[in-house]
């Protein structure tokens, strides 16, 4: 499904080089629910951007759904993002001037679906997240949790191969975070692969699989205790 091998990503300015990812290798299988944790500046977001084809990488190989993305044109990458990946952002990233229906419609229009099919998908996606009755509302008229549900509906409507979630509960209170997490778990149980970037170890433990990113490299975490230990060590170093 997603296979990264020895990915290297360097940010360069005139005076400094930052190695955001170094020999980063990760294999995510169909149906996985992977939580990616790590301290600030560890390379989590860079991994997410590279995995979501939002940024290119300098070295290594990246196979998405069996297809190498290396050397793809900007248009090809856009099409891959549109067809295979659903994004869930920390700050929801809903378009404020569009109602819920039109927000969910955005990626479907880029996909080129006809109006009938789009409508069916939008209605179904919004009903899945429990907002079927609020299609004409604007994002500003919803709570944070509801806005994140709309973002999930937008990500689901195109039936992507996997969801990439960037701190999906980072801007939500605990009750809303719980509700969104349960929704993601339901979606995963229904067969959708999810990769969730989070700094919250409690949230990460709910995922079926955990990986820890530090200094641009990845460590597979097999036991819950290991995750706690890694988080604590990182906190001590940082503190």
């Amino acid at each position: 499904m997603l296979k990264m091998t020895n990915i290297k990503k360097v940010f360069r300015t005139e005076v400094v080089e930052t190695h955001a990812l170094r020999d980063f290798s990760l294999h995510v299988k169909e149906g996985d629910f992977v939580a990616v944790t790590g301290p600030s500046g560890s390379g989590k977001t860079t991994f997410l951007n590279v995995a979501g084809l939002l940024e290119t990488f300098d070295e290594g190989d990246y196979l998405l759904d069996g297809q190498s993305v290396k050397g793809m044109s900007d248009n090809q990458l856009a099409r891959m993002r549109n067809e295979k990946i659903g994004f869930i952002f920390q700050s929801f990233n809903l378009l404020p001037d569009l109602n819920l229906f039109d927000n969910v419609d955005v990626p479907l229009r880029y996909r080129g679906f006809n109006a009938k099919e789009r409508k069916e998908r939008i209605v179904q996606a919004l009903e899945t997240v429990g907002l079927g009755s609020r299609m004409k509302h604007l994002p500003a008229q919803l709570s944070g949790g509801q806005q994140q549900r709309v973002a999930i509906a937008r990500a689901l409507a195109g039936e992507p191969r996997f969801l990439l979630a960037d701190e999906p509960t980072g801007n939500l209170d605990s009750a809303m975070a719980q509700s969104v997490l349960e929704l993601l778990e339901d979606i995963n149980k229904a067969g959708t692969t999810i990769i969730m970037v989070t700094h919250d170890p409690i949230l990460a433990k709910r995922a079926g699989r955990n990986v820890f990113v530090r200094d641009g490299q990845v460590t597979e975490v097999t036991k819950e205790a290991e995750l706690d230990e890694l988080v604590q060590k990182t906190a001590q170093v940082g503190g």
Partner: protein, 405 residues
């Protein structure tokens, strides 16, 4: 998928900026349509044929100062000698120059009496060589004969029996008759002095280019003895400038106690007469061009502001799968919608301004074809103005979607 519906609905939620831009476009279109209409109107006025062979005609004044200056003899001999010059087609004495801004006009009526409705008409006193010198064509009746040419003193009030008028004058005086039927008809000058129309010429303009009756002209078979004579001269093609020198030399060599002044070509006279029109055209073109540029810059500014304000939204759209072209198209469609609203408003305001100009300044009505042309021009200008900021929007990285605001 053009996203027309969502873009339109989003615009309705952010009306102020779009409305202001639409109003600017409407004002630009209103001024553009009416200004270009005025420019074209002036162009068509300037393009009206005068009836003359302007490229090959010139004129000059001969003013006697000597005690023994005999104007009648001098004029007859001058014209005889000028006509003999190789390169000269013909010459005549004339009281006023077409298009020059100064001349005579009278009222002609088809009935005698002070109550009869008169039609204004410009008057040129010429001899039997007048029509050939002016290069006007006789379309009915006959030219003057040499024996019909008389002399008119400074204080003369009586008018000769026969006249030749333009086709436009004939249609004004006898709207129900054909041109040839107007030949032989009697018209009245000074209320009750009868004159007979012996010929109709195709076209000749009055001295006043802004006069609504500029095409109404009559030729009167008289030479004037006013102390100063104007000679109107037509040359062979390409000979004008040489003939000006030759004619001046010829006349100056005749030692008869007079001055030769005001030597001018008809092309110079036309340029002088229409200088105001040309200046107005230039000013209007500048206004239209500047206004169009300001509108384009307004669109660039608004779209640039919009792009800067929506960078994260654009990044999100890119992350959701929009190609660069789809981002560019988004802004093109958005601008086309705003511009279209402005253009629809502009159609109404253009017509309203034109109605006002027609009422107040008696300008002709604007042709309907100006409206779609102006709409197309402004739509294209608007789309070109959007291209730059839209391309910058399309270059926004999709990774911006994951960065905090």
């Amino acid at each position: 998928m053009s996203e027309l519906g969502p873009i339109f609905r989003a615009l309705l939620r952010n009306k102020v900026g779009a409305l202001l831009l639409a109003l600017q476009i409407a004002v630009t279109m209103t001024i553009m349509v009416n200004a270009i209409h005025m420019i074209e109107n002036r162009s068509s006025l300037m393009a009206r044929p005068s009836g003359l062979d302007e490229a090959n005609q010139f004129y000059l004044s001969s003013t006697g100062y000597a005690q023994d200056f005999n104007e009648q003899l001098v004029v007859e001999e001058d014209l005889r000698l000028i006509r003999q010059l190789p390169g000269i087609v013909d010459a005549t004495q004339i009281n006023a120059i077409p298009l020059s801004g100064g001349g005579w006009s009278m009222g002609l009526s088809v009935e005698p009496g002070a109550e009869a409705r008169g039609s204004g008409i410009a008057v040129y006193f010429v001899d039997d060589n007048g029509m050939n010198t002016l290069d006007v064509e006789l379309i009915a009746g006959r030219n003057f004969s040499a024996s019909e040419i008389g002399y008119r003193g400074r204080n003369a009030t009586e008018w000769p029996q026969n006249i030749i008028i333009t086709e436009a004058a004939a249609k004004e005086l006898f709207p129900d008759l054909s041109v040839s039927e107007a030949v032989g008809k009697t018209v009245y000058i000074n209320n009750d002095e009868p004159m007979t129309i012996i010929g109709i010429m195709d076209q000749l303009q009055a001295p006043w280019v802004g006069w609504s009756a500029v095409e109404r002209v009559m030729l009167v078979p008289q030479r004037t003895l006013f102390g100063s004579s104007r000679y109107f001269i037509r040359t062979e093609p390409g000979q004008r400038d040489a003939m000006i020198k030759a004619t001046e030399k010829l006349l100056l060599d005749r030692d008869v106690g007079r001055l030769i002044r005001n030597v001018r070509t008809m092309e110079e006279t036309r340029d002088d007469s229409y200088r105001g029109h040309q200046a107005l055209q230039t000013i209007l073109w500048v206004i239209v061009t500047v206004l169009t540029i300001i509108t384009a810059l307004g669109i660039v500014g608004m779209v640039t502001f919009s792009v800067n304000r929506r960078r994260k939204q654009i990044g999100t759209r890119r992350a959701l799968g929009a190609t660069r072209w789809q981002i560019i198209r988004h802004f093109l469609v958005e601008n086309a919608l705003v511009t279209s609203c402005g253009l629809i408003l502009g159609v109404g305001s253009s017509i309203a301004l034109n109605i006002w100009l027609v009422d107040v300044f008696s300008l002709p009505r604007v042709g309907w074809h100006y409206l779609p042309i102006a709409m197309a021009v402004l739509l294209v200008v608007g789309q070109l103005a959007v291209l730059g900021p839209a391309r910058r929007a399309a270059a926004i990285s999709p990774a911006l979607a994951t960065r905090s605001a």
